[in-house]
Amino acid sequence: MNKSKIIATGKYSPELAVSNFDLEKVIDTNDEWIYSRTGIKERRISQNESTLDLTYKASLDAIKKNNIDLSTIDLIIVATTTPDYFIPSTASLLQSRLGLNDSHVTCFDISAACTGLIYGIQIADKFIASGSVRKALVVGAEIFSKVLDWEDRGTCVLFGDGAGAVILEQSDKGILADYTNSSGDDNLSLTLPAVSLGSPFSLKELDCHSNNYLKMNGSEIFKFAAYAIKDSIDHILVKSNLTIEDIKYIVPHQANQRIIAKVSKDMKIPLEKFYMNLEYYGNTSAASIGMALDDLYGEDNLIEGDKILLIGFGGGLTWGSILFEY
């Protein structure tokens, strides 16, 4: 029993769906441009919900659909780069919202951008394998709409808000292999600035929220993403001693359909093996893999023993993969 198994998935996305046509009314762009370059038709945008709200609702979805006994959760990890607060962590707020303040729970957030859920599952798996915890709730949640420059049509059309949750517990099978990697992005090709220096003693005037937007060098990130997916597949197959034919589905971070098409073509992996739902959600960063996995589970065509490969890649730069058995 020194392994962990994903026993539940859940997702939540805000109600408001913003189509490419809706965006045409706000900025100089058009549906054809967006769809042909990304595969995205619409994204969900929060009108009044917080990151905690999304996190909570995705968790509740996972808990309810699978009749999880809440009181047995003893680790909560939230992967986000758009929390409501730096202090407290989203995970701590979620513990409270779930009514677990009197339980013994370890709670923290992690920052690994779009790879956050992969890192989170990897950490939870190690906690469980070591015997430190029995059941872990891992949620990727983002409200990117609050950090987008809505005048930059190169980025604001790409992202959406949402949350995806998974619950892991001790088992004799489940996660078969994990792989994570990072390469410090000193070219700053994907950035979201935090609070800047601004004490009475600092040399610059206080400007903590000037230009506090997500910036991305699209072509550099495209190249990186294609490399990161290939590298993740290669490493996980070697680690698990499997071939690509053994994998039923690959659930990649839902960044851009063109990236997936490129990898599919280069590696000669059928496009149908990649499970995609970004058409309706856009890129939801740390939330995307959990949301896509939940949709895949919802299709009810998986059978016990099917091997599923999750792949994340994004800011940091970070990337990695988790291979598990359904």
Binding site: R37, G218, S219, K223
Partner: protein
């Protein structure tokens, strides 16, 4: 040889007929590559010729001729 290889990569990546590609073809205006397709062909050239093409150079490579001269200078 390099020129023929570049033209065949362009044909494959952009889904155009080989005989549509001329030395002075502009890859975006004449061959219909959008900004991401430009990145994709650059990646294909990097793999094929085992070179690195930095972004500041990518911006200057607008025609088939530009690419052929650039790749020749890189692998000499």
């Amino acid at each position: 040889m390099i020129k023929e290889k570049i033209m065949s990569i362009l044909a494959e990546e952009l889904g155009v007929e080989l005989d549509e590609i001329k030395t002075n073809s502009n890859i975006q205006e004449d061959l219909g590559a959008d900004s991401l397709a430009v990145v994709e062909v650059i990646m294909a050239f990097e793999d094929e010729f085992d070179i690195k093409i930095p972004e500041e150079d990518t911006e200057k490579l607008t025609t088939v001729k530009d690419i052929v001269e650039y790749v020749e200078s890189k692998i000499e």
